[in-house]
């Protein structure tokens, strides 16, 4: 209770409130928005059948057209726009039926360019009845080619909506063309059935079917864990740095008692991580629920509780070790000009581990088979292969070894770090 009161008092300091609460909330909201937007868009794109996709596009097109009709109820529309040439320029249709209405398209040009005219004819078919080609005529929508610089003039908001409706409807047309390419890819997938990759040094098959969705879910989960851990570690430093910078650290520790002070640091840390999780986890759960509902996607990991717990533990502890190493290196070497490098050394180790693991996976050699397993079991080096364990079907016992070793390294680091911290408290 005393430490909670102390933590809340810390949070009443504006600077600490900003860094400890506002920033994680902001980060969480941004993360959730990005996740829902990008992952949601990608997943929905790869999950939708071509028929659904086509239907969506056509619905959108018709809703655009409906919008247009609502705004311009008297606007006459023809399936194919009529071309009207004025000003004696090859005046094929210079007759009464070519009178210029306000929302007709006018193209101004000095010399006729048939290719340009044909393009506009295609783009505006279904949206206008007439397209006028002239030197001096005018309407609410004018495209002027008479100078070196092409100028489009839209005279009112209705003209603006009409012009961009053409843009939108044609964008849908382009999507339908892309859909054909997707159809080919989907056919390829459908005809391939379940795709398994069996590298020389892997005891189990790696399922590649629908793995894109799983990769996204794994990446999102791992990112949330990583950000939460990073916020957790930085929280201690933020509070300590703030008080140390103002010379109040030692008086405060004396006033509150060492134990209460450190407990309050943990309370602020928990509040900070909770702020982040509260702002991003609900959106993540909603996204996952939508995805998992799709039966076509192989998400056995998220359906199997113990397996999920094992994976979350492995990723949490692995990343915990990683962040502690980075934080300790940063703290101990903060006076060094190379200090930013100490933060990324663990990251370089991760990438090195991934490269070695990939190498050991694809090159058939009995020694590399053992190397691959050693890498997965080793903290830091094996974190990226562990992150994608559900896809590459990593043996569970390797995850368990990774968990144990990561826990051991974390405890050792914390003990050594705590001793160092106690001895250098006044230096902070």
């Amino acid at each position: 209770m005393k430490s909670l009161r102390l933590a809340l008092t810390f949070l009443s300091i504006p600077r600490l409130f900003l860094t400890l609460i506002f920033w994680p909330l902001f980060l969480g909201v941004i993360f959730a928005a990005l996740q829902v937007t990008l992952s949601g868009f990608y997943i929905s794109a790869i999950d939708r059948s071509p028929e659904q996709y086509r239907e969506d596009i056509l619905n959108k097109t018709s809703s655009d057209t409906l919008l247009l009709k609502t705004i311009l109820p008297d606007h006459a529309v023809a399936a194919t726009a009529r071309l009207c040439f004025h000003d004696s320029q090859d005046s094929t249709f210079t007759n009464a039926s070519c009178a210029i209405d306000n929302y007709d398209l006018v193209i101004k040009m000095n010399t006729l360019d048939q290719e340009v005219i044909n393009n506009w004819e295609i783009l505006f078919s279904g949206l206008v009845t007439k397209i006028h080609i002239c030197q001096d005529c005018t309407s609410a929508i004018v495209i002027d080619y008479r100078q070196n610089l092409t100028i489009t003039t839209l005279r009112d908001y209705k003209a603006l909506i009409l012009f961009y409706a053409a843009h939108g409807i044609n964008r849908h047309q382009a999507r339908i063309t892309m859909l054909d390419a997707k159809q080919i890819m989907d056919n390829f997938k459908a005809r391939s059935g379940h795709i398994y990759f069996t590298p020389a040094n892997n005891t189990q098959n790696i399922t590649l079917s629908n793995s894109e969705t799983l990769v996204i879910l794994l990446f999102n989960t791992a990112t949330i864990i990583f950000i939460a851990l990073w916020l957790l570690l930085r929280s201690h430093r933020k509070v300590l740095d703030y008080f140390a910078k103002n010379g109040a650290l030692l008086p405060l520790v004396v006033a509150c008692g060492k134990q209460t002070f450190y407990q309050s640091l943990w309370v602020t840390t928990i509040i900070r991580v909770l702020a982040f999780l509260i702002s991003c986890v609900p959106a993540t759960i909603l996204l996952y629920r939508d995805v998992i509902k799709e039966e076509s996607i192989n998400l056995s990991l998220f359906a199997d509780g113990p397996q999920l717990i094992l994976w979350v533990l492995a990723v949490s502890l692995g990343m915990g070790t990683l962040t502690i190493i980075a934080s300790v290196a940063d703290l101990k070497e903060r006076h060094s000009t190379l200090s930013p490098w100490f933060r990324i050394i663990p990251l370089i180790c991760c990438l090195l581990g991934l490269a070695l693991w990939a190498f050991s996976l694809i090159i058939p050699n009995p020694w590399l088979y053992y190397l691959q397993r050693i890498i997965v079991a080793t903290p830091v080096l094996g974190i990226l292969p562990v992150m994608f364990a559900p896809i590459i079907a990593t043996d569970q016992w390797l995850l368990i070894v990774h968990i144990w070793l990561s826990a051991l390294v974390t405890i050792l680091l914390l003990r050594v770090n705590a001793r160092w911290f106690a001895a250098h408290l006044e230096e902070l």
Partner: protein, 312 residues
């Protein structure tokens, strides 16, 4: 025994060793000192701050112990940092981005459970330290003297029984120092004080007991008189009868016979302080220089002279 004596602070240490890694910062075999205002003196790196942090339990001894208690308390009752002590560090504890009022509020919420304590019960303290006009100023806008005053209010707001100061007079001018000495003298009636300082002239005025540290060890501890006596037991003044040339010759002879020795020669008088100055030898030297025995007067060294001799 008077009321004042009954409320003395006691600091006791036994076989105390405090290390920073492999570096031994403190090594105190035995320490027992008592007083209302205890001063902690020694050169830079002698272990003053380490001793304070160990007393505050911010540093854990590798071996042995150091405890503080008040003589008025039940025997064996030790002072606890978060209940009985306040600490004012050397660099000052002022939040640059908070107003003084917010700082007081923060502290009162921590120690008193109510942010408004300083406006009510704490008001006399604010008046005593003349900080009411600083309430709306930010920490970064305060002068060094103002920072010290604010910091002391913060410390005293928690009503400590034992207040520890690390170099409180550093960077203060004569007027500010004098005012601070006055305030501390008054506060010492209610609160036991431990003051670490290089300023011997102030320590001599303020403290009634001393701990002298040198390279992590206690060189002397006790009352001012005891400490001066331990550090520098002998002191003589020689009034010169002849010209300055004879004074220089005498000084050279004294240096030759009594080394190490703190000698302060002036035009009319030579003072010398040290541990083993035999009066008979001094007489012989004087007579050899044509001076008489009557010129020698025994004097007591002040703390400044004792410390100068000690640090030779």
């Amino acid at each position: 025994m008077s009321e004042q004596l009954q409320n003395h602070l006691q600091i006791n240490a036994q076989s105390l060793e405090v290390n920073y890694g492999s570096f031994q910062a403190l090594n105190i075999e035995h320490l027992a000192v008592r007083g209302r205002i205890i001063a902690l003196v020694g050169h830079n790196g002698s272990g003053k701050s380490t001793l304070i942090k160990t007393l505050l339990q911010l540093l854990m001894p590798r071996h042995g112990y150091i405890v503080s208690s008040l003589t008025a308390d039940a025997p064996g009752k030790m002072l606890l940092p978060h209940e009985d002590m306040a600490f004012s560090p050397e660099e000052g504890a002022i939040f640059e981005d908070l107003t003084v009022a917010s700082y007081f509020q923060l502290w009162c919420r921590l120690k008193r459970g109510s942010g408004n304590y300083y406006k009510n019960q704490g008001l006399p303290l604010l008046e005593k330290f003349q900080v009411q006009n600083l309430l709306h100023k930010y920490g970064r806008q305060l002068s060094k003297g103002q920072r010290r005053r604010v910091q002391m209010v913060v410390g005293f707001l928690s009503n400590p029984r034992f207040f520890l100061f690390d170099e409180p007079f550093d960077g203060l001018d004569v007027e500010q120092t004098s005012r601070l000495v006055q305030i501390l003298s008054q506060e010492a009636k209610q609160t036991a004080l431990l003051i670490s300082s290089h300023r011997m002239e102030i320590v001599e005025r303020l403290a009634d007991a001393l701990i002298v540290l040198k390279q992590g060890k206690v060189s002397a501890a006790g009352t001012l008189e005891t400490v001066c006596q331990n550090l520098c037991p002998c002191g003589f003044a020689i009034n010169l009868e002849h010209n300055s040339q004879s004074g220089e010759a005498l000084t050279a002879s004294l240096r030759e016979y009594f080394s190490p020795l703190l000698i302060s020669p002036s035009a009319a008088r030579i003072t010398l302080y040290g541990k083993d100055i035999a009066r008979e030898k001094l007489v012989q030297i004087l007579q050899a220089q044509g001076q008489s025995e009557e010129q020698i007067i025994a004097i007591k060294p002040s703390l400044i002279e004792a410390m100068h001799y000690h640090l030779l």
